[in-house]
Symmetry: C2
Subunit: 296 residues, 2 copies
DNA sequence: GAGCCGCATTTGTAGGACAATTTGGGAAGT
DNA sequence: ACTTCCCAAATTGTCCTACAAATGCGGCTC
């Protein structure tokens, strides 16, 4: 793993954070990008201390930070190994950010929005049932801020995030609240992807947000569910288009295995289609979870 | 915070783990139980070192472990503060385990199953679309193991968990896979709650599991969705009954504020009820998320 | 009374020493 | 030649000490 290049990047950037936090970010971004691939070992502490030019205390505290997120485990005499990705805490805000720092994979972004589309309609429905007045008001404020900051992308993103996070909060469910990190990651991803793409006009998206808010305010769970589903569907379309564009631009035709692993059947004609995210087209999904456990 | 009693519990139990891991577990269980309530500070490092009789290095590494999970943050001269619960990583396996170690709150268990009921039907549907043959076979093996271990609670629990986790894995979605920890927590909770309760016979539950598997094998997403919903609904009923029993046994009438904060309306009569988790009765939900940020 | 400064406290970093553990190879015995 | 046992080297784990840096607080000055 090449630590020389990025370890001395932007010496004063993020100088506010502690050393062990910077170390954790450095190693975390690397690991998320697959530098020491799961199953492989990090360099020894002595090596890392020398390469990063830090003391062993700071290095070990940074490593502990990553261990707390499930990224790595250390054993005496053996070393520090990167755990399989299935063990990572994919809802951890830092891990999500580190994934985005490296060029986010198609599957990463797709999975992100898939989960959003499962969770958020329900969150909206529950919010419509349970939200108290002040929280509903805050959702409204977020909507207004989105209109207000329509020009400035930075603030618009923040208001958009606040809109969705407040809805999660309104459910009162501690676990749903933890989804905020995932949404933030998704918004950043779609921002850095489809900064241009967006087949839908911003006004269109803003109106959708406002309509979700209105259904919550009016205590109509089913409508909130449906409208949030719609909102996410259009967002996914934008991101999907952006991904297609990027994929065509970067690499051409990864279409091996475009076949019958998962039969297309857009929606098997059975009893009524469950409301919400429809079984979507996804011709890729080539990786059969090879359970990679190789050691170096 | 009283560290003297529990810090020296079971001196040889878990002697396999490292010291900083034991420290993290000790502090983590305490914090999860609300000993230093969010917003309050932990004792100083010097204090903790003295109370736990460990070196500062080991203590700090344990604290870093907790910081990696979002439980606490440290600042120079200020101290180490417990972050608000909304910032905790509620999908972290350790945090979930620590919550269960203390007597799990009603709302904890309820929220747990609420999220399960949102996620898992979709996971089953996606698995029915995407699962490859070996994974489907493993789901079947889990079913058979559940039948085989019907007597022994320990192995039954393990097979049950394996059933649900394999379905998550079959979706191929990295984030859904991270839900395994939550399911494990839920199973342990329902085990330690309704060890007896279960209005439904075990055979009934086993048959439900098997039918979910069959729909996945036969690539029927909608049926998988519906059956998994049913399976969870009955599981929730059991747990809910157990909670009621326990609540009546332990404390009587915490019914202050049983009022109009969230109007009852079991399901506002609108367009067709979305399939899946129905808006449920929940007369409690007393905590209006007071954003407690008090400092000591 | 208000504003500024210094001091004390607390966490952060450095560095060295030794302990514990496990891998792997080498030696010895069969 | 093969197996078994043991020792030694390598690596993380723990302890210790010292100092650095930040920051809240009290006191001092104007």
């Amino acid at each position: 793993m090449d630590t020389s290049s990025s370890s001395m990047r932007a010496p004063s950037m993020r100088a506010r954070s502690n050393l062990h936090q910077r170390i954790a970010r450095d190693l975390g971004e690397r690991i998320a990008a697959g530098d020491p691939v799961p199953g492989k070992f990090l360099p020894t502490e002595a090596d890392l201390c020398a390469r990063l030019a830090v003391s062993r205390s700071a290095l070990r505290e940074g490593v502990r930070l990553l261990a707390g997120k499930g990224l790595i485990t250390s054993k005496r005499k053996v070393g520090t190994v990167v755990r399989p990705r299935t063990e990572w805490n994919m809802f951890d805000p830092d891990i999500l950010a580190w994934h985005l720092a490296a060029a986010p994979t198609d599957s990463f972004v797709t999975d992100l929005f898939e989960v959003r589309r499962i969770i958020e309609p329900w969150a909206a429905a529950l919010a419509a049932q349970r939200a108290d007045a002040p929280t509903i008001a805050r959702i409204g404020v977020a909507c207004e801020d989105m209109v207000r900051f329509q020009g400035k992308a930075e603030e618009l993103l923040e208001a958009d995030l606040r809109f969705h996070e407040t809805i999660l909060e309104a459910t009162g469910n501690a676990f749903l609240i933890s989804f905020g990190a995932l949404i933030e990651s998704a918004l950043h991803a779609s921002f850095q992807l489809s900064w241009s793409g967006s087949a839908h006009t911003p006004e269109y998206s803003l109106r959708r947000h406002r309509r979700v808010w209105e259904t919550i305010r009016e205590r109509k769970p089913q409508d909130a569910f449906a409208l949030m589903s719609e909102l996410l569907r259009s967002a996914i379309e934008d991101v999907h288009d952006a991904l297609l564009t990027r994929r065509l631009a970067v690499t051409e035709g990864n279409g091996l295995f475009a076949g019958p692993a998962a039969p297309e059947r857009p929606s098997a004609p059975q009893s009524g289609e469950p409301a919400g995210p429809a079984p979507r087209r996804r011709a890729r999904r080539n990786h059969p979870h090879p359970n990679q456990e190789e050691r170096q």
